[in-house]
Point group: C2
Chain length 181, copies 2
DNA sequence: TATTGTTATACTCTATAACTATA
DNA sequence: TATAGTTATAGAGTATAACAATA
């Protein structure tokens, strides 16, 4: 490590003892000081950036549990959704999860091969195939949901239960609110 | 559309008028009712899932502005970080952003080719190359940060300013808190 | 021995066009 | 004409091993 900037970043946190410090120069004098590296500035001020980092931090705790059952995050999402909403077809799963239809084909085929879900022709629409969890699929979905919920509590142990609920509620509103225009 | 499940999902929201409804059957009787498709159940209860969906929802508003300057999310992150912390080397950027070193090589090379950043040999360490924004790079970073901040406010217009700040603070704590073990 | 920057490479994820069967 | 499922494919993102130069 050679620079001041490096040492400030290393921790990744923005603790109280680190609040007021000199500007990290190497910029021309007279330039506006932007607040260098405080969490409220730059990337730290962006909801998108922080959502992504939080997602990855939480995922790190969860991914192992999914891998133990040979499920990727999206495979698990499909299984869980079909568990809670049996009868959905592929197109509806696509819309609900925001995954493009072609990218669901292999996922659904794999879940079916592993006998976690079944595809049943819709008698009312010859094009549509309803997705239904098998008994084993439902068991796995419920169990993994519980395991992942616990893993997430561990991953977000720095939050109180109330704060975690607040976070969940805010996130849900962000992505599931009807968009304007 | 053929199933009940489909109609319930279509809106993506969980409005009050939709709160109490019968279980979506096609599962064996006597099975525990899991709360089918309410936001608090299944995927909706998972922080990771909601972080990811919120990230993608916000990104949809922001990506256009980055593309206008031929920047991908990670390229912009590097530029913004280097703008606020000039002098960081590639390894430090890697740690700060959680991007693996080999994946930064092309990004940094491109930013340098476009004269948005410069690489200066560290006199104290012959291996290290300090990254510094050019005047144009700093201008672009500041401008894009402002544009993206506004785009995010539009993307999260369903939140009050206070709620947005709360969300940001909670997300930051999730990913930047020191992890246990 | 350890670290910085790098190459090569593989794997995963995401996106688009176009085809078929059905509506 | 439109929609559901699918194929093929391209592009973007992410990951690991290993090397040269330097510490």
């Amino acid at each position: 490590m050679s620079s001041d900037a490096a040492r400030r970043l290393a921790a990744g946190t923005d603790g109280d003892e680190d609040r007021r410090r000199g500007p990290s120069r190497s910029r021309s004098p007279g330039e506006v000081r932007t607040g260098v590296s405080r969490a409220e500035d730059g990337l730290g001020a962006l909801v998108g950036y922080n959502c992504r980092r939080a997602y990855l931090a939480v995922l790190e705790h969860s991914i192992r549990h999914m891998n133990e059952h040979d499920l990727r995050p999206t495979s698990f999402s499909v299984l869980s959704l079909v568990h809670h909403e049996p009868g959905l077809n592929s197109r509806q799963v696509s819309k609900a999860l925001g995954v493009h239809p072609p990218n669901l084909v292999a996922i659904i085929a794999s879940l079916e091969t592993r006998k976690l879900i079944e595809r049943r022709p819709d008698p009312a629409d010859g094009r549509s195939l309803g997705l239904h969890p098998t008994a084993e699929g439902s068991r796995l979905a419920s169990r993994l949901e519980r395991v992942l919920a616990r893993a997430e509590i561990a991953a977000t142990a720095m939050l109180s239960d109330a704060e975690r609920e607040t976070l969940l509620a805010l996130l849900r509103r962000v992505w599931s609110s009807p968009r304007q225009a």
